[in-house]
């Protein structure tokens, strides 16, 4: 920091210093750090948003990159350098087809109830499948749905975004096209005019 009285100079110095501090904090952590946590750890009055912007620009195209997942930030190695780092790869449990499909459905349709997942897959979802996704830190419970029975919903976590290198669920591959094609609509089977009993009957017909 500088003692120069000129505001511009002082500002430039404090801006650079803020960037350094955020850099140090994020470098030190293997896990993404939430914006709120960064703000708490930095001196009061730090322009955190600008520091993050500066940092992101600085690391653009480098061997490590600043990445956002949800409301958290982390440095991650550039995806194209994965081959160099194979030895650091951690053996992950191979996910079953049911688990990967369920995960995709939760990500693209969130917040989504178990019944909705089942309707999409046309088969009942075993408790173990969702539990596994929750265990891995990729899925968590969302708000209950304001429909009869107030069923719980599932949403993806920041850990999911971090793992798949997404800044937000809006960045899911092909999301826009799927939405445009109406494939993310919750389209009830024909003849279901909101009559719940009817819906129930047909849902079970479709394996929901």
């Amino acid at each position: 920091m500088t003692d120069q009285p000129e505001t511009a100079q002082f500002d430039a110095a404090s801006r650079a210093e803020a960037e350094r501090m955020v850099e140090a904090l994020l470098f030190a952590s293997a896990e993404p750090v939430a914006t709120a946590e960064l703000a708490r750890r930095l001196p009061e009055g730090t322009d955190l948003a600008r520091a993050l912007d500066d940092l992101r620009a600085r690391y653009e195209g480098r061997g490590v990159e600043l990445r956002r997942s949800g409301d958290s930030w982390a440095f991650r190695t550039a995806p194209d350098l994965g081959h160099l780092l194979e030895r650091h790869a951690v053996e992950t449990r191979k996910l079953s087809r049911a688990a990967t499909e369920t995960l995709a459905i939760i990500a693209y349709h969130q917040p989504v109830t178990r019944a909705e997942i089942e309707e999409i897959r046309g088969v009942s979802v075993s408790r173990g499948t969702v539990d596994q996704l929750i265990d891995m830190g990729w899925v968590r419970l969302g708000r209950r749905k304001m429909t009869p029975g107030r069923p719980v919903t599932f949403v993806v976590t920041e850990g999911f975004l971090d793992h798949f290198g997404l800044s937000s669920p809006r960045d899911l591959p092909g999301l826009r096209e799927l939405r445009a094609a109406g494939l993310l609509d919750n389209r009830p089977p024909p003849g279901q005019g909101g009559e719940e009993e009817d819906a129930q009957a047909q849902d079970s017909l479709f394996g929901a």
Binding site: A78, H163, L166, P189, P190
Partner: protein, 271 residues
């Protein structure tokens, strides 16, 4: 492999039956054998729909229903047990098929065969889309496989310090607790500093014969009960009570000059 032949021929019920190649037959055969591998009837329908080799949006639901029913029929012939939901789907598809083939009944408000077929097509397309999305997701550069976090995490050192706190109330309560601790013990009368009325009475009876003049009752306390406040207090009470007893018996007289003035006694001469 006889069964396999059957199945291959079984697939001939489909619209492409006439052009079925050996590969197609093998595929259809595999469908039957791998029925366990399907994630439910919708998944099976989706797989069957691929044999139509058209975009899912142009798919013939009627043909698909027939393929599915053919599949279930072959499974029945082969005595392969199908899970209930496959049979439910078969029943529903049979119903859908009849709806699609028969002219619509204008009297009924039930959804038309076309609407039901369109919804099934939507479901298939949606499942297919989710399946592709899932594959795209899994193919992304993934943390711990293609992308890595900082290896040498520098943990935040937490310096813990403890501030102890006590309020004035805590302090006063603690003092009260200390000062009254004995009261919470099982109650045992401490007789060492306690003079009973009987003791005082025995003593007074023995001495009162000499008491011709008025004297403060404290004069009758034993020497070692004079000084300590607690003993003196107990002696005072016991001797006073004994005095009352003797007065009642008519052996002594008792007087007090004023409130809080010394209590005095003397022998009562019986005439």
């Amino acid at each position: 492999m006889d069964g396999g032949q059957d199945v291959a021929r079984g697939a001939d019920t489909g619209p492409n039956a006439g052009h079925a190649t050996v590969a197609d037959r093998r595929a259809a055969e595999a469908l039957i054998v791998d029925v366990e591998g399907f994630e439910g009837p919708l998944d099976l329908l989706l797989t069957l729909s691929r044999t139509q080799k058209v975009d899912l949006r142009q798919i013939s639901i009627l043909a698909l229903a027939e393929q599915y029913l053919g599949f279930v029929e072959k499974a029945r012939v082969l005595r392969i047990e199908l899970a209930a939901d496959y049979l439910v789907m078969a029943a529903w598809l049979a119903f859908l098929k009849s709806r699609l083939l028969l002219p619509p009944d204008p009297a009924t408000e039930e959804p038309s065969g076309e609407d039901l077929a369109a919804h099934l097509a939507f479901q298939l397309e949606r499942l297919q889309a989710m399946r592709e999305a899932s594959a795209q997701l899994m193919a992304r550069p993934r943390l711990g496989r293609d992308v890595f976090a900082r290896g040498a995490e520098e943990a935040v050192t937490v310096h813990r310090s403890t501030v102890h706190h006590a309020s004035l109330l805590d302090l006063m309560q603690a003092y009260a607790r200390v000062k009254t601790r004995d009261e919470f013990r099982p109650f045992v009368m401490d007789r060492r500093d306690l003079m009973t009325m009987e003791q005082a009475l025995d003593r007074l009876r023995a001495m009162v014969g000499e008491a011709a003049d008025w004297a403060d009752i404290s004069a009758y306390f034993p020497e070692d009960w004079q000084a300590a406040p607690r003993r003196r207090r107990s002696a005072t009470a016991a001797t006073f009570a004994a005095s009352l007893e003797l007065a009642k018996e008519g052996r002594i007289e008792i007087r007090q000059g004023d409130i809080f003035a010394p209590i005095e006694i003397r022998r009562k001469d019986t005439a």
